[in-house]
Amino acid sequence: MHLVICAKQIPDPETPPSAFKIDSNAVVPAAGISPVLSPFDAQAAEAALRLKESAGDTKVTVISMGKESAQAAIKQVLAMGADEGVLLNDDAFEGGDSYTTAKVLAAAIRKLGDVDAVFCGRQAADWDMGQVGLGIAEDLGWPCAIVAKDVQLDGSALVVQRVLTDGFETVKEPLPAVVTVSNELGDPRYPKLQQIMQAAKKTVTTWGTGDLGLDASGVGAAGSKLKLVGLAQPQSGGAVQIIEGETPEEQAQGLVQALRDARII
C-alpha cells in the first residue's frame, strides 16, 4: 500500500495571546517561537503510521505545501516513521485559499501515482477551516471521511470511526480514499533521537507548478476566490472583578452575592 500524509507548518498555536500580533492583515511571527507541524497533522501521521504497522508492506509519503522552512515539518513526520518526503514549493502557491491548496496537493498525489489513502488533519490549527482533506477528495473523485478517531484497514476498504456532535459513527469507505483525523485519535508518537538523525539525512523532493502540470493562474492568490479583506484581534471584555476574601467561604459568599446583584442568578 501507499499512504500519503498531508502536513502543514503553522505558527505555534500555543503562542500566548500576548505575543500574538497582526500587521497589514497578516500574522506577525512571534519572536523566538518557531513554527510547528500543525497538531492535527501529527495525529494524521500517527493514524497513517499505525496503519502501516498493522498492514505491513506499506510506503508512507509525507507531502507539504509551503516554503523552504516547511522542510522541518516534513522531517518531523519522516522521523516519526514516514519513508519519503515531498515539498510543494513555488511562489505561485502563496496567498491561496483552501481550494487552491487542495488543488496543489491533489496534483501531487496524482503525480505520485499509486496512492491508496490520504491522511490529513481535521483542520489546520491556524486558519481552522477544515476544508483541504475534502477538497483533495473532491479533486481526485475519492470518498472522504472527516473527523476520525480510529482508522483500520479491512481488505480494500478503510473502516473509520468518526466523532459526531453527540456520539460516534463507524463508516466503511472503499480505497482509494481520504481521511481527516481528529485529536480523539490520541497522542502522536515521539521520534527517537536516532530516527531524528536518520530523517535529517533524507533528501526531500521539491515540486513546483511545472512538475505538477499546474497553471500558475489557477493556484495561490491568483486562483483563490475567497478574499481576505480584514484580519483583526478581537476586543477583550471589561476588567474582571476578583472576589476577595480571607477564606474560601467568604469568597464563595461574595461571588453568590455578586451574581445576585448582577441578576445573573
Binding site: G130, F168, E169
Partner: protein, 324 residues
C-alpha cells in the same frame, strides 16, 4: 444587491433544528429583496418546511425520503446541488455541524471556490456580502468577501438571531430528487450517553479543565452544577480534560467541540486557551475559578476567584444552598 439565499436545513427528531431557524434569520437579513429558500431532507421535511415559512423562508425544497435521515454526503450533495439550481441561489448557508463541515467545502469546491467556514458574522457592506470568522484559535477575526458566483458559508451556532415566528406564513414548495448510491457505508452509530439537559441549551454551564488535576475533580464540578439546579445547569469540559480521558468528548466546549452561550459560564481549572474561549465567549457572564491569577481566563471573565477549587467549590455549593 438582491441575493437568493439557500439554507441547507437540518432537523432534530423530525422538527426544524434551532440552527436552521437562526440561518433563516441571517438569510432574511442579507437577502436584500432576494428569495430565502430552505432545503430539507428526510422524515419530517414537509412539516419542517411549514415551520420554516413562519421563520422567514419564502421557498422550500424538500424530500421526505427516510434514507436522508442519516447524513451521507454522497447522497446529500446531489440533493443540495439540485436545491441550489432550483433556488437560483447565489449564497448557501449551512450550520457548522457535522453536515456543514462535510457539505460546505464540497459544495464550494464543486463551484471552483473555498467555503467560508464557521462564520460568526454576516453582513452586507455597500452591496457586498462580508463574512467574519474566528481564526488562529480565536486569537484573530478574519473577514472575507467572495469573488465566486456562489458563496458557501457555514455558520457557528447561536451567532445569528432567528426571526420572531409569523403564524400562518406560507411559501412555495417543490420536490428534491430522492437519494442515489453512497460509496461510504455507515456501519454503526452510537449516541453518547448524555441524558437530561444538553450543554448547548443550558442557561448555566459549569466546566472543568486540566487544572482540576484529576478526573475526580469533575465530581465537584458536577456537584456545583447540581447546586445551581439540575434543570438549569449542565457540565462541560475543556479539550485538554477530554483528551486526558477525564470527561466524555460530547461535553467538550471549544472550537472543535460545542459552542455554548449560556447566561452564566463557570470555568473551573480552565486556563482559557483561545481554542476553549471560541466555544464559550458568547456567554453573558463568565466566572473563573483558578489558582493562577495570571491565567488567560481572567481576561474574559466578569467575576473571578483566585484559589484552590477543592476548597472554593464546596464553599460555593454551600453558599448556593443557603441562598435558595
Amino acid at each position: 444587491m438582491a441575493q437568493n439565499v439557500l439554507v441547507i436545513g437540518e432537523m432534530v427528531g423530525g422538527a426544524l433544528a434551532p440552527t436552521s431557524k437562526e440561518l433563516l434569520g441571517a438569510a432574511s437579513r442579507i437577502a436584500e429583496g432576494g428569495t430565502v429558500a430552505i432545503a430539507l431532507l428526510g422524515t419530517g421535511a414537509q412539516a419542517s418546511a411549514a415551520e420554516a415559512f413562519t421563520f422567514g423562508a419564502t421557498q422550500a425544497l424538500t424530500s421526505g425520503d427516510a434514507t436522508y435521515d442519516v447524513f451521507r454526503s454522497d447522497q446529500w450533495l446531489p440533493a443540495a446541488e439540485a436545491a441550489i439550481a432550483q433556488a437560483s441561489a447565489t449564497v448557501v448557508l449551512i450550520a457548522q455541524s457535522m453536515v456543514g463541515r462535510d457539505l460546505g467545502p464540497r459544495l464550494a469546491f464543486r463551484n471552483g471556490s473555498s467555503a467560508a467556514m464557521d462564520c460568526s458574522r454576516l453582513e452586507m457592506v455597500g452591496g457586498k456580502l462580508q463574512v467574519t470568522r474566528p481564526a488562529y484559535g480565536g486569537n484573530a477575526l478574519a473577514t472575507y468577501e467572495f469573488a465566486s458566483a456562489l458563496a458557501v458559508i457555514t455558520v457557528r451556532a447561536k451567532t445569528q438571531e432567528a426571526l420572531d415566528a409569523t403564524a400562518g406564513a406560507t411559501g412555495a414548495t417543490s420536490e428534491l430528487p430522492g437519494p442515489g448510491e453512497a460509496r461510504t457505508d455507515v456501519v454503526s452509530r452510537e449516541a453518547s450517553a448524555s441524558e437530561g439537559l444538553q450543554i448547548q441549551d443550558a442557561p448555566i454551564v459549569v466546566s472543568g479543565g486540566r487544572g482540576l488535576g484529576d478526573p475526580e475533580g469533575f465530581r465537584l464540578v458536577e456537584a456545583l452544577a447540581a447546586a445551581f439546579g439540575s434543570e438549569r445547569a449542565a457540565v462541560g469540559s475543556s479539550r485538554a480534560a477530554c483528551d486526558l480521558g477525564w470527561y466524555p468528548p460530547s461535553q467538550q466546549v471549544g472550537l472543535t467541540g460545542k459552542v455554548v452561550s449560556p447566561d452564566l459560564y463557570v470555568a473551573v481549572g480552565i486556563s482559557g486557551a483561545s481554542q476553549h474561549m471560541a466555544g464559550c465567549s458568547g456567554a453573558k457572564a463568565i466566572v473563573a475559578i483558578n489558582k493562577d491569577r495570571e491565567a488567560n481566563i481572567f481576561k474574559s471573565a466578569k467575576f473571578g476567584i483566585v484559589g484552590d477549587y477543592k476548597l472554593v467549590l464546596p464553599a460555593l455549593i454551600e453558599a448556593l444552598k443557603q441562598a435558595r
